[in-house]
């Protein structure tokens, strides 16, 4: 596969009757699952086998002021090995009073893969974003290839969260980075600071959840573990925090 496929674009804007959803198909296409005057819940579907060596999936999202957008990945994604690196990048703008929520499915980094996952978020005014990212190093019986991730989130004041993780085979085994862990589930709320859901256990060793209130308007719940997703708190936290984000919108969706 070559990187000639263009970006998947998705935008939503409120109207008086039914929100306007525009999309351009790239490696992914968009299916509207639910819709009201202000926003939509959409599914992202792959249009071809993903993610192959050399594939660069780009998703550009624009949530207009006052709109809401709930993105659901319909399936997990396996990044397959090969000679060329691959990438999966999200670039989203969230307008004043808008809400973007994005429930990621597991992203599996196979042996022999070099893949980058990048997320860039620009929040405006009172815009809020909630992202869940689940990554697994290796398919069954594998230890996994090289993964780097980046998050660069800003609002009108400045940076909210900036994080680059090098989870390459050599770097991740260094003490204090990822050790021999294999999976990570990260729920990131930006634009407001929701409290912890449940009681993340303070553990002395690696596996488990940690709740990180950010310095300004944001919070992260991160679980790390050895193998399958056994975390108890990330999915409920995503659901609770999504409800919180939606409730805080300036105009409640019209009841029909």
């Amino acid at each position: 596969m070559t990187g000639t496929t263009g970006p998947t674009r998705l935008s939503v804007a409120p109207t008086a009757s039914r929100s306007r959803v525009h999309h351009t198909t790239g490696h992914l296409t968009v299916r509207v699952m639910d819709q009201d005057a202000d926003g939509a819940r959409v599914g992202l579907l792959a249009t071809q086998a993903l993610l192959l060596s050399g594939d660069h999936v780009r998703i550009e999202v624009d949530v207009a002021p006052g709109a809401w957008l709930d993105v659901v990945e319909t399936t997990g994604t396996v990044a397959y090995g090969g000679d060329a690196p691959s990438s999966w990048t999200i670039d989203a703008a969230v307008g004043d009073g808008a809400v973007l929520t994005w429930e990621g499915k597991p992203f599996v980094v196979s042996d022999g893969t070099a893949v980058h996952r990048g997320t860039r978020l620009r929040l405006h005014g009172t815009g809020r974003a909630l992202m869940q990212e689940k990554v697994v190093l290796g398919r069954a019986g594998q230890s996994g290839g090289d993964l780097t991730t980046s998050l660069d989130a800003t609002d009108d004041t400045g940076p909210v969260q900036v994080e680059h993780l090098d989870l390459g085979r050599q770097a991740r085994r260094m003490p204090g980075v990822f050790g021999d862990l294999r999976s990570m589930d990260t729920v990131t709320a930006l634009g407001w600071s929701p409290g912890p859901v449940g009681e993340p256990a303070a553990g002395t060793t690696g596996p488990g959840e940690t709740y990180f209130p950010l310095d300004r308007s944001g919070a992260v719940l991160r679980w790390m573990g050895i193998g399958r997703f056994r975390d108890r708190l990330c999915d409920p936290a995503f659901a609770d925090w999504r409800d919180e984000a939606m409730r805080a919108r300036p105009h409640e969706p019209a009841q029909v």
């Binding site: 940076p159 680059h164 260094m174 002395t204 990180f212």
Partner: protein, 217 residues
């Protein structure tokens, strides 16, 4: 621009009363999580590639912004956005107040009213500007301080031959120089590295709630 070698020695000396004696560079929780004393050099290399690089990059940029008359609050915001652990942010800001006392006593001058809330690397960058410390040297200072802090803490947490840990520090000097060279040219807050270390950040939060501990971080 060259720094006085004696100035660098003084700032890197544990006898400088800046509050460093309360610190283990995350080593105390790392040992509780299973790190062995023999793994300490690898742990320190890991920090030099991640959290310590963020600190050093922040100090270099703060120095450049102070020299250009810019707003150090923007550097503080960039550091805070790269430091997800509230325990590490609070610790960095406590240490910032310690270095602010050093700065105001040794290099007196007008200081922004918000400086009391700034983290150690931001205050250190301001100090580097006032004291005419070269960019690479303030980065070296951050790296060296981190390495010495952890090895000194190890002698209290799991006593070793102090010559063995001194040899580790000596062996890490090229790594510190390499890290310093990589961040020395940074000038703006967006350029500050953002390399996280998920386990170090988790351990820092756990340690913050531990009731029995020798070091505050």
């Amino acid at each position: 621009m060259s720094t006085s070698p004696l100035l660098l020695a003084m700032l890197g000396d544990a006898r400088l009363p800046s509050g460093g004696h309360t610190q283990s560079a995350g080593l105390e929780p790392a040992l509780r999580a299973g790190l062995t004393p023999a793994g300490v050099p690898a742990y320190l290399r890991s920090r030099l590639r991640t959290v310590t690089r963020v600190e050093a990059g922040t100090a270099v940029v703060a120095r450049a912004v102070a020299a250009g008359g810019g707003d150090l609050a923007e550097v503080e915001a960039a550091w805070a956005a790269r430091t997800p652990s509230p325990a590490l942010r609070a610790n960095g800001r406590r240490l910032g107040r310690g270095y602010l006392r050093v700065l105001q006593t040794l290099w007196p001058g007008p200081v922004d009213a918000r400086a009391r809330t700034w983290s150690r690397p931001v205050v250190l960058g301001l100090l580097a500007h006032r004291a005419a410390l070269a960019p690479a040297d303030v980065a070296r200072l951050v790296g060296y301080d981190d390495v010495q802090t952890a090895t000194a803490a190890l002698l209290k947490l799991e006593p070793q031959d102090p010559l063995l840990t001194a040899a580790w520090v000596n062996g890490l000097l090229p790594d510190i120089d390499e890290m310093a060279a990589q961040v020395a040219r940074l000038r703006t807050p967006e350029q500050i590295p953002a390399h996280g270390a998920p386990l170090i950040e988790r351990w820092a939060e756990t340690h913050d709630t531990a009731t029995e501990r020798l070091f505050s971080a």
